[in-house]
Amino acid sequence: MQPGNDPRVRELKFRDPERARRLTAALRQAAEDIGRPASVMHVCGSHEQAIARFGLRAAFPTSLNVIMGPGCPVCITDVPEVDEGVALALQGVRIATYGDMLKVPGTVKSLASAQAEGARIDIVYSVAQAVQLARSVSEEVCFFATGFETTAVATAAEILAGPPENFSVLSAHKYIPPVMEIVAEMPENKVEGFLAAGHAASITGWGVFEPFAARHGLPVVVAGFEPLDILAALVKLVELVRDGSPGVVNMFPRCVTKEGNLPAQETLWKVFRPLGGRWRGIAHVPNGNLRLRDEFAHLDARRRFRIDLARFWDYAPAGLAQQCICGDIMAGINSPTGCALYGKQCTPENPVGACMVSTEGTCRIWHQYGGVPNLREVKA
């Protein structure tokens, strides 16, 4: 049996290499029309995974630079936020969190090292599982919540559903639209257009990007995650760059509407309020953090516990961490191969920077797929 003949595979109509070839040709044409190198940015680890997995960079025109921006929620969780989780854990609060968070370095410790010292850390796949855990034990269980608006909605829904008294939330949730403003304003990265993440846009709606596109005079194209989704969205984006035509185009209409998922938005904003804060390695992002509203203060770990961060204050970051350029990579100013630590001192087994920890991190993805050598000319 050839895999192409398997009916279950044929159903994946977003994986048709023939259509991919036509889109690639259109992409090449649009990039050629621009007549100079151009950079566009996507802001999603799942986009980078798909680009790497399907080897799309070998099909991109050489004059087009597709950069991964701050699209990995684990990577942009700031050091003091990790410290808060570590401190709580060392104070004896049981922490439930996503597995990706374990190895993210804080000032001196990660959750994994706290665990090695005896702290109770439980890996969960969802906030619902954390609530379930709290129901099954009598001790305090704190859900260390990371992720963008997509996962924040799930956290909000559990909070509204009334979790048990021994449950609390340490929110490190982030909100994507404000950081796009920051990155768009960085003079160094020369980004001329954005691919917006389809799953986040299914919550917020594509309308949320309209003021942004107008303010910066940039095109934004909402993209799905199959290879044809990404190629088709890139063709559209590069055409808009070529035509100097700002605005928002939705190339993921099978999931995304202009107004988005209204009940989800209602849930999100009922529980969270936007607050300015640092994104690791990038900048202070106004309204970039999602924090619990006052009505839910009783569930907010920051208000329920006295989190003692003083114990970390005497430590300077480790020598290697000072060489880490994760921030520049996420801002689109540099790439993993521009980092002296990448693949040498910094590996998924022993990460120095957060981008090497998460399966959504640029460094981790590049490392997983053996870097990004130029494979355009390889022929049998």
Binding site: P7, F54, A58, Y98, S126, T359, Q368, G370, V378
Partner: protein, 340 residues
């Protein structure tokens, strides 16, 4: 000692990838490898080849532990026979003279389970035309070993030796059937993943398939893509032969249920173990003939030509996805289902 190895043995050192190769190279090859007339430890091939008159005596050994011991499509008994028969075949020796069976058991191990394991060893040996001719038994106190460890050693004679290092640019790569079945069947059973569909291990002796391939002629490399999967196997062949390998993703036979499970779990089918497959390197002019020959065998029906050896990109494996191209990286340790 190699400082990259670290202080202590970790699970990744047994997972079939780079870490395991580093352990073998820096601990055992470094200290134990002796000069032999033939293929010895230093070659890190599927087995050893020792000259006996005009022929080669092939010798190979394998210890088996698997969780769970019984999984869809097989069990540790079938695995222990198939693994060793296949390692012999990958050296070009398709007619095993005899196998040994050494078993280490934990106190309290149920005899009923041991009998089931024995019966499936017997069935697999019959399929392979092999016989168990001697053995050894040890029992450890409870907790000192996890249930059962099975070791089998095999010997066979062959007139022609097939190595890992003889691929040339232009040679074609054939896989004898679908990829990823064993790895995903065991993964699903081990982690209690309630996946629908028929995920079944491919564990089987493939000496019959290899016999047909050798008879057709033009075979220059053989390897079974066990731990570390097709990715590790091709890396090893590419590195030892000093060629690059360009792989056509669309040509690799992968069952629909494996493909679905791999998408769901975020694990590449190229990175998981196969226990009933052969990767066959052939001269370009013989590729179709070998393919035709092995498709006559029940275990070779889904075989396909999946790749070509390149002059450059030495030691690298490149995947043409149909959408673009990327490198296939070797896996470091055991593949784990993704967290979120």
């Amino acid at each position: 000692m190699n400082p990259l190895l670290g202080e202590r043995v970790a699970l990744k050192h047994g997972a079939g990838g780079r870490a395991m190769r580093m352990l073998i190279e820096s601990i055992f090859v470094e200290g134990l490898a002796a000069e032999v007339d033939g293929v010895g430890l230093a070659a890190m091939d599927d087995g050893a080849a020792l000259r006996v008159g005009e022929q080669w005596l092939i010798l190979t050994t394998d210890s088996h532990v698997v969780h769970p011991r019984f999984f869809p499509g097989g069990d540790i008994g079938r695995l222990s026979i198939s693994g060793t028969v296949n390692d012999l075949a990958m050296m070009g020796a398709t007619e095993p003279l005899g196998l040994t069976c050494a078993v280490v058991l934990e106190e309290g191990f149920p005899f009923s389970e041991l009998e089931r394991i024995r019966d499936s060893m017997k069935a697999a040996a019959a399929e392979a035309g092999a016989r168990v001719v001697t053995g050894d038994t040890k029992v450890m106190r409870k907790g000192e070993v996890d249930g059962i460890v099975l070791n089998t050693t095999g010997v066979a004679l062959t007139g022609t030796l097939v190595r890992d290092c003889d691929l040339r640019p232009g040679d074609r790569i054939i896989v004898s059937g679908s990829i990823g079945d064993h790895g995903f069947a065991v993964l699903a059973a081990r982690h209690g993943l309630d996946l629908q569909g028929d995920l079944r291990s491919d564990v089987a002796p493939v000496n019959g398939v290899v016999r047909l391939a050798l008879r057709a002629g033009g075979v220059v490399a053989l390897k079974d893509p066990t731990r570390g999967g097709l990715a590790s196997t091709l890396h090893e062949l590419a590195a030892k032969s000093g060629v690059g390998i360009l792989l056509e993703e669309g040509a690799i036979p992968i069952h629909g249920e494996v493909r679905a499970a791999s998408e769901l779990l975020g694990i590449d089918p190229l990175h998981v173990a196969n226990e009933g497959k052969a990767v066959i390197g052939v001269r370009p002019e013989s590729a179709e003939k070998v393919l035709g020959a092995i498709r006559e065998h029940p275990l070779g029906r889904e075989s396909a030509i999946v790749g070509t050896c390149l002059d450059d990109w030495k030691g690298k494996v490149i995947l043409d996805t149909g959408f673009g191209k990327r490198l296939v990286a070797e896996i470091e340790g055991e593949p784990m289902p993704r967290i979120c």
